[in-house]
């Protein structure tokens, strides 16, 4: 009897060790073109490497706050023109090379070089020089004070690499993060595993695989069949209720940095008139778009700012759904019978499905739209670069990108010296309260000028095995940070 129970206990113990999962397979809709986040804008690159393989001086936390990473601490000079970073010691790259201040200087100089192809080069515009003081101290001097420097350095585009790896990082990334790159089966998956000599708290997972499944139906099948454990940005919101009803899965709904807007060409015919733009804003029923195009996922916004940010103000009242007011404004502007314009839509479903609803809402107040469906490359060429459009729908997913309203040549062509001065002044302010005040003024100015019609903040809807804990709920930057992910028994 005693032996039997002992055997039973042993068997149980053995099977529970076997059941303990330490690896994870994540689904992603798009495959990264390569794995160098400093050389392309594709979100899929950061979704694999950010915080897992590569690290920067600072990093984003799950709530969007800026945390120390390779820099342990920093001191800012009184004039705001010099940042002295103390780097962590004992850090190594995955090939064994030691991380030093030289790597910081190399990486930042490379990113801001004249022939740099960094997609977010503007992040480094304020940097005058990067001085290596000693192996663990680096000083960044600025041309003008830049209150956003620590935030900017947290982007994936500001990661620190070793100068000897620069030729190969696109295919074989070598960073300082808790995971190292193992394999890339192109078109299928990327495999990473825990780096044993990581300087910080080691990852709880020993291994992770990113699998690329572009088709929403296939993504659904892969989760149902147990071939993947989680799909952090699940492409088909219509399937979420089914996962919610299934105890095997948990549905994780959070918010992203994606402001989804009905962008207007502020220099195009009737749209140049602020009354017309206001009329369009009042003709839009946001909730109907969220329900119809996004199956209820999304938060209405009234300006170009993320609702989860502390400086956010709710300005949805300025553009509440009021078709009668809309018609009156159109008449006032000299278009009592409405007018017609173009509505050019990029591929994502928020744009294609949302576009149909927007078109019918605009038709109700007399504005006819000619819908054209474009691919991304075509959209970039025609709408974004060529500015050949009246209306378009797009989600701006870069964090804190209200500064685009200070660029008169940006595709919606809003030229307002007041906003330009505010945004320029923002760079010089480091005090959070003061920054917040300026940000609020900018939010309000663009909302009152009806530069664009603000629709909703894109939700992050993910599906995961119910036993997986520690995945990011929100998406302050496009990443699948696996450092805190584990399986619950």
């Amino acid at each position: 009897m005693k032996t039997t129970s002992l055997t039973a206990a042993l068997v149980l113990a053995a099977s529970s060790t076997l059941a303990q999962q330490t690896g994870i397979t994540l689904g992603m809709q798009l495959e990264p073109p390569h794995l160098d986040p400093t050389g392309a804008a594709a979100a899929a690159i950061d979704e694999v490497v950010y915080a897992n393989i590569y690290e920067g001086l600072t990093r984003f936390g799950p709530d969007g706050s800026v945390l120390p990473a390779l820099a342990e601490s920093w001191e800012i000079s009184d004039d705001g023109l010099s940042y002295t970073f103390t780097l962590r010691s004992g850090v190594t790259f995955h090939d064994g090379a030691a991380f030093t201040a030289d790597d910081v200087a190399f990486s930042l100089d490379r990113a801001r070089a004249e022939d740099s192809t960094n997609a977010q080069k503007a992040l480094f515009a304020a940097i005058d020089d990067v001085n290596v003081i000693d192996d663990t101290t680096v000083e960044i001097t600025l041309l003008d004070p830049d209150g956003a420097l620590l935030f900017n350095l947290a982007w994936g585009d500001a990661i620190i690499i070793d100068d000897s790896d620069v030729e190969t990082i696109q295919q074989n990334p070598i960073g300082t993060g808790p995971f190292k790159f193992d394999n890339w089966y192109q078109g299928d998956r990327i495999e990473i595993s825990a780096y044993p000599d990581y300087w910080g708290e080691p990852a709880k997972l020993t291994q992770a695989t990113f699998k690329f499944i572009s088709d929403p139906t296939a993504a659904f099948a892969a989760l149902m069949a147990g071939d993947i454990d989680a799909f952090p940005v699940f492409p088909a919101p219509e399937n979420l209720p089914q996962f919610e009803a299934d105890p095997r899965f948990s549905v994780i709904v959070g918010s992203t940095e994606g402001e989804t807007i009905l962008a207007m060409n502020n220099q195009n015919g009737p749209l140049a008139d602020v009354k017309v733009r206001e009329a369009i804003a009042h003709a839009i029923d946001r909730q109907a778009i969220i329900d119809g195009a996004m199956f209820g996922y999304g938060t209405p916004i009234g300006t170009h700012f993320a609702p989860h940010h502390p400086a956010y103000i709710d300005l949805t009242d300025l553009s509440e759904y009021d078709p009668e007011k809309s018609k009156a404004l159109l008449a006032e502007a000299g278009y009592p019978d409405g007018f017609s314009t173009t509505l050019k839509l990029p591929p994502p479903s928020y744009a294609r499905r949302g576009g149909e609803i927007v078109a019918s809402q605009l038709r109700a107040v007399g504005i006819e739209t000619e819908i054209t469906n474009l691919e991304w490359a075509q959209w970039l060429e025609e709408v974004f670069r060529g500015k050949d459009f009246g209306l378009t729908i797009v989600s701006h997913t870069e964090p804190m990108d209200i500064g685009i309203y200070a660029r008169p040549d940006y595709y919606f062509q809003y030229d307002d010296p007041a906003v330009q001065a505010l945004v320029a002044g923002l760079a010089a302010v480091t005090d959070p309260e003061d920054r917040s005040a300026i940000l609020k003024t900018v939010q309000e100015t663009i909302a009152r000028n009806y530069v664009n019609a603000y629709l909703f903040q894109l939700a992050k809807t993910g599906v995961a095995d119910a036993r997986i804990k520690g995945l990011w709920e929100n998406s302050p930057t496009q990443a699948n940070d696996l450092t805190a992910v584990y399986w619950e028994e």
Partner: protein
């Protein structure tokens, strides 16, 4: 036979040159700049210009055409704009999925179609024939992606015998590779087998009324035996034509099935490359497909000639 083959080869080369021009021009006129696509909506114009220069996109179209074609002639397919690796490597990886898948599907469809077609022809008008005709009608009518989804639901989600898709790589073993290709191959083979068995059946039935068949029957062979020994070889010509067409279709046209099973094949590569404006990949892959189609047609022509000596003379 040799002269016949040489003549076919010359026209094959001419077709390739013409195709390279058409492909290049067609792809050049698609709007969309690869560099802006890669750098997204926050990039500054100088950055885009720097990347264009790095990718060699600032050269004129004529110069780029000749660089591309002379590369092709030396077996160099160029470097992908987005992946930044040689196109030849990317294509080779994808071919190692698409080619076995096409062969697997073609083998399955032939293995099904031949006996089914023969049985239907031998039992013309009978119950078996009617049943087969009905089933093949259904096989043609059902879209293969829909059939694929049914297979996934039954064998991956419910029974868990297969995974829902993806490809482990041949380095993980031949069997696991074949296992991953099984459901996709079945979904591709079903409509093909239906078409092929109908072609087989009608080609055999045409043979039944021929003089040599009557002679064969007069010698005492049963209808089935006469079919297998004498009619089959002659019925192969239309069957070969269809097989050749199907192979080209399977290689290039499996894109929907590759999406359903998220297989890293050639179809999906080209689809992705078009969206990303990775023009050099699109151009090179299309050329490879054109070459494959022309080459398969050439092989089919040679096979005709082997089956039917009269074709060699003309």
């Amino acid at each position: 036979m040799l002269r016949f083959a040489l003549k076919r080869l010359v026209s094959l080369a001419a077709a390739l040159v013409a195709a390279s021009l058409v492909v290049f021009v067609a792809i050049e006129v698609i709007p969309g700049d690869p560099a802006s696509y890669m750098l997204g909506i926050n990039a500054q114009p100088e950055t885009v210009a720097a990347l264009r220069a790095q990718l060699g996109l600032d050269a004129g179209p004529v110069e780029r055409y000749f660089t591309w074609v002379s590369g092709l002639l030396q077996g160099d397919l160029g470097t992908s704009y987005t992946y930044r690796t040689p196109v030849a490597n990317i294509v080779a990886d994808r071919l190692w999925v698409s080619l076995p898948l096409a062969i697997y599907a073609l083998t399955l469809s032939t293995l099904i179609a031949f006996p089914v077609g023969i049985i239907a022809a031998a039992r013309r008008g009978g119950t078996a024939d009617l049943g087969i005709m009905g089933a093949t009608q259904l096989g043609i009518a059902i879209p293969n992606f829909w059939f694929a989804m049914i297979l996934v639901t039954v064998f991956a989600i419910n029974l868990r015998w297969f995974s829902s898709g993806g490809f482990p790589g041949w380095d993980q073993g031949f069997l696991s590779g074949m296992k991953a290709l099984t459901l996709p191959a079945i979904s591709l083979a079903l409509p093909q087998a239906s078409i092929l068995s109908r072609v087989m059946r009608s080609a055999l039935i045409d043979m039944l009324d021929q003089d040599f068949m009557r002679t064969a029957r007069a010698k005492g062979l049963t209808r089935g035996q006469a079919l297998r020994r004498h009619a089959l070889r002659n019925a192969l010509i239309p069957v070969l034509t269809i097989l050749g067409l199907q192979f080209s279709f399977l290689l290039a046209g499996a894109i929907i099935i590759e999406n359903v099973f998220y297989l890293p094949g050639l179809g999906r590569l080209i689809f992705q490359a078009i969206a990303q404006r990775d023009l050099i990949v699109v151009e090179s892959v299309v050329m490879i497909l054109v070459f494959a189609v022309i080459f398969v047609t050439f092989l089919v022509d040679l096979a005709y000639a082997a089956v039917d000596p009269r074709l060699r003379a003309s």
